[in-house]
Amino acid sequence: MTELQDAARRLLEEGTVQVVIGWEAGRRGARPVFVTDSADCDRLVFDARCVHDLAVFLNPRRSQVAGLGKAAVVVKGCDAKAVAGLLRESQLGRDDVVLIGVRCGGVAAGPDGAEPPALTAETVAARCHGCDVREPAGVDVLVGAPQPEPPVAPTPDERVAALDALSPAERLAFWTAELARCTQCYACRQACPLCYCERCVVEKSEPQWVETSPHARGNFAWHLTRAQHLAGRCVGCGECERACPVGIPLGLINRKLQQVVYQLYGYTVSDDPAVPAPIGAYAVDDTQDFIR
């Protein structure tokens, strides 16, 4: 903890950055905090409550954040993948940001206590299942002691598999029920570190590809588009699902597409910006057994 605070303090005092984006403890779980005064660095925490993917604040279009000056951001391994995504897609220059990596032993699913919850199979977040980046790569500063494996939670794959097992009609029914509740508030988009477009396609009216009326059909159009855009890019941080006010299990869709890009193109989202994303690249011998 102090290691993290010291790192932040040093960066602010040396003037390397003007703001450190991290987490602070709130009454109900942790919350993002923007430290601009080195005196406040002791507010910074990192524990199992720090679920938010702070890479979302690196979107250059978040002028209120950009306005604070050059930022250092605290990242878990999964967050670092999101940063890599932004670098890969030219949304960010590596020198525009300082990355403080924290070794992570997993975060909680719905932390709302004043104290970090003990991680158990019940409390751990689904996204931590089979985590391969508990030590973030490509960061400038790495803090914290090596962490133990997070407890094994029921994996989202099981729920995905259960859906796969249904007939198309049943799946359509399931998703109709889920998506009918969507109000197209776009919280999922705002919470997503990789949904950074200047003008989202849903706001393009000439033509209006995505029906904006919040009925199931319009919502299908929206979530189809969002998922397709995230295929091979989604880092599985789960923020969209966590931000959804009506509790649509968006994580299942993202997870499914992660499986698909892996099965079809052997691709898993990389924390190395140099690794090209699967959509936008191709191999001459890509699978095509679905093509007649």
Binding site: L172, H215, Y282
Partner: protein
């Protein structure tokens, strides 16, 4: 109704291979089902998943996406990129409940008039089997599940700081097959 059902198929094809192949089918007078309407694009690389989604939205019972065989692309690589995007999109549609059998992807070269006729006839037959797909079109009338969609919010404890605080009650929704579709309630737009 099924007896008189005539599938409505929208086909998105590339200008250089499949469209020309379909021309050849014509010049060769190859009879085929009349259920397909062709929309011509320069290259499969131009064919967007939004087209397919929109076609279903507008009541198409099936969709065909067809272009040049690998290595034949007039623009050298458009079909390779399309192959990747649709490889993923097909799975996505299927996962959300659109029967993949309503979607045909094919490589039809300018010299394969016969193959085009086959692709058309097979697709029409398959979709006729599956029956009409107004389900997607009628999604607009799907009832919003029982109760106020914001119930989740109210049931949750008061929020202190940031939208992030509230763990969605979505978890329960992830038990597959839970028949909320049957639920009654205020219908959508």
């Amino acid at each position: 109704m099924e007896a008189s059902f005539e599938p409505r198929i929208t086909a998105f094809v590339c200008n250089w291979c499949t469209y020309t192949g379909a021309d050849l089918a014509g010049t060769s007078r190859l009879p085929m089902a009349s259920n397909v309407r062709i929309i011509r694009l320069p290259c499969t690389g131009r064919i967007d998943h939004l087209f397919v989604a929109k076609a279903f939205e507008r009541g198409a019972d099936g969709v065909i996406v067809s272009g040049c065989h690998p290595a034949d692309c007039h623009y050298t690589a458009g079909n390779y990129h399309a192959r990747r995007r649709f490889g993923v999109f097909r799975e996505l549609l299927s996962f959300l409940g659109v029967d993949p059998r309503r979607l045909t992807f094919s490589w039809v070269s300018a010299s394969e008039g016969g193959k085009w006729a086959d692709v058309v006839n097979e697709t029409v037959a398959r979709v006729r089997e599956l029956g009409p797909f107004d389900a997607y079109h009628r999604l607009a009338d799907a009832p919003v599940p029982d109760g106020d969609p914001f119930a989740a919010l109210e049931s949750a404890t008061p929020r202190a700081d940031g939208a992030g605080e509230n763990e969605p009650s979505g978890v329960h929704a992830s038990e597959p097959g839970r028949g909320r579709a049957a639920a009654t309630g205020g219908s959508g737009a």
